[in-house]
Symmetry: C2
DNA sequence: GTTGACCCTGACCCTGCGTCAGGGTTGGAG
DNA sequence: CTCCAACCCTGACGCAGGGTCAGGGTCAAC
């Protein structure tokens, strides 16, 4: 009764799709007429529509085959699964939708909100975008390589920027980006930063995973390179010159 | 800084996926270390996450490539398109979800509700499931081959079953399925049905597309075969025996 | 110095069709 | 009667977006 294109049309698929289903054995090959054309009956239409309903719901063709020959109970439970899976996909898509909405506005996607807040705090303090981006990169690497330290660093950073002296130093450092490495203001800045490190019991030897960020900072500006070198030099001198001073209190 | 598996982990993809993106030129190949391993910086993580965000949203990789190098305005309008497309997909899935819910209960999917109502009316009259299925098949073929006659047929059928005599005949016919073709009750049934056809100005020569349904009815039961043959024979005799009777009134 | 977890390239495999090539049929118009 | 469009057939390759070997080199830690 029905030709292949008529059958396909009733199910809203292409002729190629019907032939594909024959090929994979999902839909039985019908009788042929005198010239070798396939001729379909109404049952084929019913079968095809059932197949498409499942396929549209995302069921792989191989599983549809099994499903159509399953007991009603199995079938019903499979339908329940498929329905749940569909709902999951819908939720997924809704989430992706909200994520692409954030694509326009940069780092929200890749960093936790607290870190985004810190970066915005830097911006509102007047820190250059170049420096903010270096800061962002260091957070990303930290998250990739040493995620468990992130919460502590968030607290530390926020505490730092609650302290006016630290903030002043950070900003001064940022503004020095284009200074000549021999600018005398750099000497004062280096003294101040060294004092800050002593006061906060830090030294500028970085945990390994930040070395590359540091080297990118150096590359970005000769002035910064001089600051980092000088601080590293002084820190090293302190460690080797008075070793006993560090040990005596214990 | 990052190895390929670390990079992949930060974006929640497999190593193979990252390499695939290199292969298609979507993510630039990074520097290699001394032993030929790829080494990634934070920017690569940002890029990869952006790529995945778009890919998850269903954007083909080829288009992502173009998108990432687009102007902000184009980018923004593309995002709007993608978002709309996502919403469309979500709606689609919701529709598929309601459709698979109907899969359990047979013909709802493949026939308009009015026809389903007719089939249920047959069932409630006590018509056998076998006959109902033949009826259903004929509706499916009608819809596939001659869809514009469906509404009229729906009205006709309903009118038929509002008439007790027609209903009685239909039921009697249904019950005769397993009778012997020589059962004397068949003769009375044939007489009654012939009279019905004359009264309703119908003859049993079917529109071409129902011939196969008719032949399947015949195959289903020798008794039915006899009924159909007898009716066709009488109808033919009427058409040839009194041709002038048909023409005179004009 | 060996074990296990990584890294490299290259290659084939998978789904669910689209599409092209190279034919044969059918049905209606001219 | 011929011609044309619109069907039908089989067979084959192509595509995205990776999965999954195979066959080999590295690294780190014990």
């Amino acid at each position: 009764m029905l030709t292949i294109s008529q059958l396909a049309a009733t199910a809203g698929v292409t002729v190629r799709t019907v032939r594909h289903y024959h090929h994979v054995g999902l839909l039985p090959e019908p009788e042929r007429d005198a010239s070798g054309y396939r001729r379909y009956n109404a049952q084929a239409a019913v079968d095809l529509i059932r197949i498409r309903t499942l396929a549209d719901a995302g069921v792989p063709l191989a599983r549809i085959d099994a499903l159509l020959h399953a007991q009603p109970t199995e079938f019903a439970s499979a339908i329940t699964d498929i329905d749940a899976e569909l709902q999951r996909k819908i939720d997924q898509l809704a989430e992706y939708r909200s994520r692409i909405a954030e694509l326009a506005s940069g780092e929200r996607l890749v960093l936790p909100p607290e870190v985004v807040a810190i970066l915005n705090r830097l911006r509102s303090l007047g820190v250059s975008e170049r420096r903010v981006r270096l800061e962002r990169d260091s957070w990303i690497l930290m998250q990739a390589l040493d995620p468990h330290v992130v919460p502590q660093r968030i607290r530390d950073k926020n505490a730092n920027f609650d302290d006016p002296e630290t903030t002043r130093l950070y900003l001064a450092c940022d503004q020095s980006v284009d200074w000549d490495p021999h600018d005398p203001r750099l000497d004062r800045l280096i003294d101040d930063m060294d004092a800050w490190e002593i006061k906060h019991e830090r030294d500028s030897s970085q945990p390994g995973y930040l070395k590359l960020v540091v080297s990118r900072i150096s590359e970005a500006s000769p002035a910064w390179q001089r600051i980092l070198d000088a601080l590293a030099h002084r820190a090293k001198r302190r460690r080797t010159a008075v070793p006993t001073a560090d040990l005596r209190p214990r």
